[in-house]
Amino acid sequence: MIRIGDLLFSYDEGDFSLEIPQLNVAHGETVAIVGPSGSGKTTLLNMIAGTATPHSGQVTTNGYAISELHDAARRDFRIANIGLVFQEFELLEYLNVLDNILLPYRINRTLHLDTSVRERAEAIAERVGIGDKLARYANQLSQGEKQRVAVIRALVVQPPLLLADEPTGNLDPLNKERVLDILLQYATDNAATLVTVTHDHDILHRFQRVIDFKDFYAYGAGQRPENVAGPT
């Protein structure tokens, strides 16, 4: 599903840099990425999603060399193939729950909103326990409910790949388990790949593989270590 080779990334300003010689994630695999803050975990997700491009190296997602696609193509690819979940939920305040869930269908013509999509959205919402809150706005929901809405928004297009950036970071233990259940259940039911960045070591046991980012090279200028090693 994901193949990364000889990836090198740095920002124009600052001394942050990320190097990943090789990283592969198989179809249907559930992976948790851990590591210290600022080590580049979110940057990696951005490059897999195509919202950031490496200076060199290859990022192939679901068979597409996403790092080599132009911006419009990356967006089209992302909306149809990748479900993104954020730590801060990122719901639009002026849309109700149902409209937030259906947002991907309204912001890119690649997806077509029809009755079956609406029914699917309502069915998932019902399954995760917010079926009765579809008309509410984000500010009328609890933290756990907001994250469930954000997760449904990622699932509704039925993507083969889910990228979650600390999806349980703002949740209490009960909601944390609930959101994880939803993500993992989706991955199992649909043979989808799930890559999650997390600081929460209590949930690592639920993933098939854990990648520790300290194994990669996240370093400041002139601090590159001598030995290169990393998981594949």
């Binding site: 999603a49 919202t51 911006d71 419009a72 967006r75 089209d76 690819f77 992302r78 909306i79 149809a80 990748i82 993104l84 954020f86 990122e90 639009l92 305040e93 002026y94 849309l95 409209d99 947002l103 991907p104 269908y105 309204r106 912001i107 890119n108 013509r109 690649t110 909103l113 706005y137 928004r153």
Partner: protein, 393 residues
Amino acid sequence: MRDVLYLAWRYLVYHRLKTAILVTSIMLIIYLPIGLNVVVEQSAVHLTARAAATPLLIGTKGSPLELALNSLYFSSEHPELIDYSEATMVADSGLADAIPLYVRFRSRTHPIVGTSLDYFSFHNLSFASGRPMALLGECVVGANVAESLGVKPGDAVVSSSETVFDLAGVYPLKMKVAGVLARAFTPDDDAIFVDVKTAWIIEGLGHGHQDLARPEAASGVLSRADENIVANASVVQYNEITEDNLDSFHFHGDLAGYPLTAVLAVPRDEKSAVILRGRYTDDSSTSQIVRPVTVIDELLDTILTIQQFIVAAVIIVGLATIATAALVFMLSLRLRRREIDTMVKIGGSRPRVASMLLAEVVIVVILSSSLAAVLTLVTWRFGPGVIEGFVLT
């Protein structure tokens, strides 16, 4: 496009207060200069048409504007009065037909116009029902008067007292409606027309009372000397002219000295008009003759100058408002940076996201323009009436 409009609409509805303020501001900026222009243009046409249809007005020396506004539009401020003899003099000169005008009294808000039957033919006024006034105490009402008071031929309207504190002043006179005029879309629609003599009776210059020669009036008689009978206040005076008491109505003194507000002079030809106007050039004369169209043109010039100042001010305010709206939009974009980033991360296409933001502006502008158009339409329909109300009352 439907999705873009939907998202833009949801944003505007959610932030309805901000949207309402923006829409109102832009609407006012669009509407004010256009609406003002419509009002002035229409009023100019309206005012000029009436003035152009009235060749000459004769009144006491003073404000020509007051004379014209009172005579043409029946404004409540009446000019100094002239004698009825002025009308007789014009008619006797053979230069023009003279139509007397005595526009001083009101029935509620409606002006009572004391005139002659020639007024109807001069203004080509036709009757929707009934007939012209034929007897003392009869009146003809304009279309709006009939509508607002709900009167028809056979009903009655009552003149208003000039002041409730003046016991010797004007008392109400109940007047029988003889006819209703067809709508003319002029100030005539709002007027009540009576014979000038009826207007004088309203003023108290003529009156009708109990026959003092009859025995039942004897208790009120103070003295009798030949035909001169002096009576006290117990003698019954009539406040309605009926067939039974019509003969008792009479005027004291010489009618030539009775008051008018103006004489509407209709010259026989251009030459007669010039000669007639020449007769009022004498500085010692207490009367003036004016061409209403000239007076109204001067008024419109003043209004036009004021309008230009207002439009200039509105344009400056408009530019400031547009700049502020642009600033609000840019600040809004900054505040929405995170929302836009989220859409981009999810995979929102650049044209769609940009279109959504643009659609919000377009919807606001369309809403503002539509409201401004509706307001302009309302102004076009009712504006001239409103501005005439301001100018003439």
